[in-house]
């Protein structure tokens, strides 16, 4: 039995049955990470010794009896913008290079209470700003399917780690597609929950009205399993919603789409969509139909506005959230400054990379006197129109199916000189964040070059079950998940 090849849920079953110990799990993953990590570079920080100690303690505590807490003994990787007490959390930024959180994010506290095993913290674009991990201050991660290609971003380290079997599953965060796009590029499953479904407490803030934490996993069942372990209301996050958490595993029982109406938005199949991606997604839509789904063409007429709205709202919120990095309370401090203003200016100059500076500048500009109404106010109003498009669509259909990205994974450097082109590649994922609705990305094929292609399903608020049901039905009736990257 190769432990690292098992899905999270398969591993959970074996652990619960006593067929494998926590120490065996950690050692197996230690070996696997040792083999492929030099090529993939998924991790910012590994905590091998701590994981072995944790596993040993767990095995000793469990001696003679088996407990069935969902994440007990499960080896997970966590995106390095989610606070882990006592373990560095850097946001892949020089600014937080030495930051060791004094507390756990709520999702981490939940996993810890269940006895999970932390393998390490995964790479990201600095402060989750980017689509390729090329903006990481420690260098990019690589796509396990083709090491010359980006893994996507910003949760590229998490997606690459899952694809390369360097963890059983991972957590990412998604502000404009940062879970779903790397999941698509790396051929794994990524779920952005409804805004408010998962607590953001301890997630280092990028754009607070858009950010959500969610699972990146080897298959759909794992996404349901891990979402159930982290979801729920949290008094420490006043935007988390007090809606009961259903048993997401139950949503997988019906392996069909009978009585589900599936909307295909014409705006998502416009020019700029790679023909191979279009072909794979259209074939997947036929499969959803064969599984009992009623396919309907729909309109989301304000789709074209999404990128512009997003890059105003997200950068405005970022410019405010990142004001806290001032060289005083934590993080980097510039040396030999003569007064407080120079301390701020130089600390931020030295601590932030180019993309973070660009977004702080853009966000500051759109919020500044004289431009606020024309840019920020306008974007907030058009955001309302985009939400209304989704509300109208969900009167007619139960879920919406689209591509995740216009193209498969691109090569390093292909877009890094042109920020606007990089931003425009987020076109299919951004709307779900602006509307606050849940969306899942799962594999639906491969390009001629052997790169994975992703399928996106978008659902009504708090109807993750419908997404999981449809995604699982599709996954179980196709073979994409059985293909694994060679990592070479």
């Amino acid at each position: 039995m190769s432990i690292h090849k098992l899905s999270l849920y398969e591993l959970h079953e074996k652990f619960t049955a006593g067929e494998v110990t926590a120490v065996e799990i950690v050692r197996a993953y230690g070996l696997r990470i040792g083999q492929v990590e030099p090529k993939v570079k998924a991790y910012v920080t590994q905590v091998k010794d701590a994981a072995v100690a944790q596993a040993t303690a767990l095995d000793n505590a469990l001696k003679g009896w088996r407990k069935t807490l969902p994440m007990m003994g499960m080896p997970l990787a966590i995106k390095d913008n989610i606070c882990t007490e006592g373990v560095p959390t850097t946001c892949a930024s020089r600014m937080l290079g030495n930051f060791v959180p004094p507390y756990d994010a709520t999702v981490i506290a939940k996993l810890r209470a269940q006895g999970y095993l932390l393998l390490g913290k995964t790479n990201l674009d600095e402060f989750a700003m980017g689509s390729s991990t090329e903006n990481s201050a420690i260098g990019p991660s690589r796509n396990p399917w083709n090491l010359q290609c980006v893994p996507g971003g910003s949760s590229g380290g998490s997606a690459a780690a899952v694809a390369a079997d360097e963890c059983a599953a991972a957590l990412g965060s998604d502000t404009g597609g940062s879970i779903r796009q790397p999941a698509a590029f790396c051929g794994v499953v990524g779920l952005k929950p409804t805004y408010g479904r998962v607590s953001r407490y301890g997630l280092i803030a990028f754009a607070s009205s858009l950010d959500q934490i969610g699972p990146i996993t080897k298959d759909v069942r794992d996404a349901a399993f891990l979402l159930g372990a982290i979801a729920g209301h949290d008094p420490l996050d006043s935007t988390s919603t007090d809606v009961p958490v259903p048993d997401y595993m139950k949503a997988l029982k019906r392996k069909d789409l009978k009585k589900l109406k599936v909307g295909v938005p014409v705006e998502f199949f416009a020019e700029g969509l790679d023909p191979e991606v279009e072909q794979a997604v259209r074939a997947a839509i036929q499969e959803l139909k064969a599984l009992g789904g009623e396919i309907k063409e729909i309109q989301l007429p304000r789709t074209d506005a999404a990128v512009a709205v997003y890059y105003v709202i997200a950068t405005a919120e970022a410019s405010s959230n990142l004001a806290r990095y001032d060289g005083v309370k934590f993080g980097l401090r510039a040396k030999e400054t003569k007064d407080l203003l120079e301390l701020y200016m130089k600390t931020r100059q030295e601590g932030f990379g180019p993309e973070v500076k660009r977004r702080i500048m853009l966000g500051t500009y759109v919020l500044s006197a004289g431009y606020y109404d024309a840019y920020y106010g306008k974007a907030q109003a058009v955001r309302t129109l985009i939400r209304q498009d989704f509300e109208a669509a969900f009167q007619d259909v139960d879920l919406i199916v689209t591509p995740v990205t216009p193209t498969p994974a691109f090569k390093f450097g292909a877009k890094s000189d042109d920020p606007l082109q990089m931003y425009l590649s987020d076109i299919f994922t951004i709307s779900a964040n602006l509307a606050g609705v849940p969306a899942i990305s799962l594999p639906c094929g491969f390009s001629q070059a052997g790169l994975p292609i992703g399928l996106q399903l978008i659902g009504r608020p708090f109807e993750e079950e419908t997404l999981l049901r449809a995604a699982y039905a599709y996954e179980q009736n196709t073979q994409w998940r059985t293909k694994k990257p060679a990592v070479r």
């Binding site: 805004y195 506005a305 512009a308 993080g331 007064d339 931020r348 932030f352 500044s368 309302t384 920020p419």
Partner: protein, 99 residues
């Protein structure tokens, strides 16, 4: 849309960011390109449209005003670049009065 170097400098100061000359030039060009794209929002009529402040109708949340334990001072300042006696240390803010 054109963004001048002067505007970049003004915004950078508001954002408390020191920029190099090459950063100023690059940002002037790139911000201009991005804002030109943002201007396409003008084509959408938003007369009478309520701006989105919260996405799914969240409302204010209150909790009872009860004291509870929080981070100790030692842990709160543990990540500070410079601290003394449980305080954050910063450069002098108020200048000495000349006598």
């Amino acid at each position: 849309m054109e963004i001048t170097k002067h505007e970049v400098e003004k915004v950078a100061k508001l954002a408390r960011l020191e920029l190099t000359e090459s950063e100023k030039a690059a940002f002037a060009k790139q911000l201009g390109q991005i804002l030109t794209h943002v201007e396409t929002l003008k084509q959408y009529d938003t007369t009478g449209v309520e701006p989105t402040a919260t996405v799914l109708g969240q409302v204010n949340v209150f909790r009872p005003d009860i004291a509870r334990t929080s981070l100790s001072v030692e842990r709160a300042v543990a990540n500070a670049p410079e601290s003394a006696d449980g305080f954050f240390v910063v450069p002098k803010i108020i200048e000495d009065r000349e006598r």
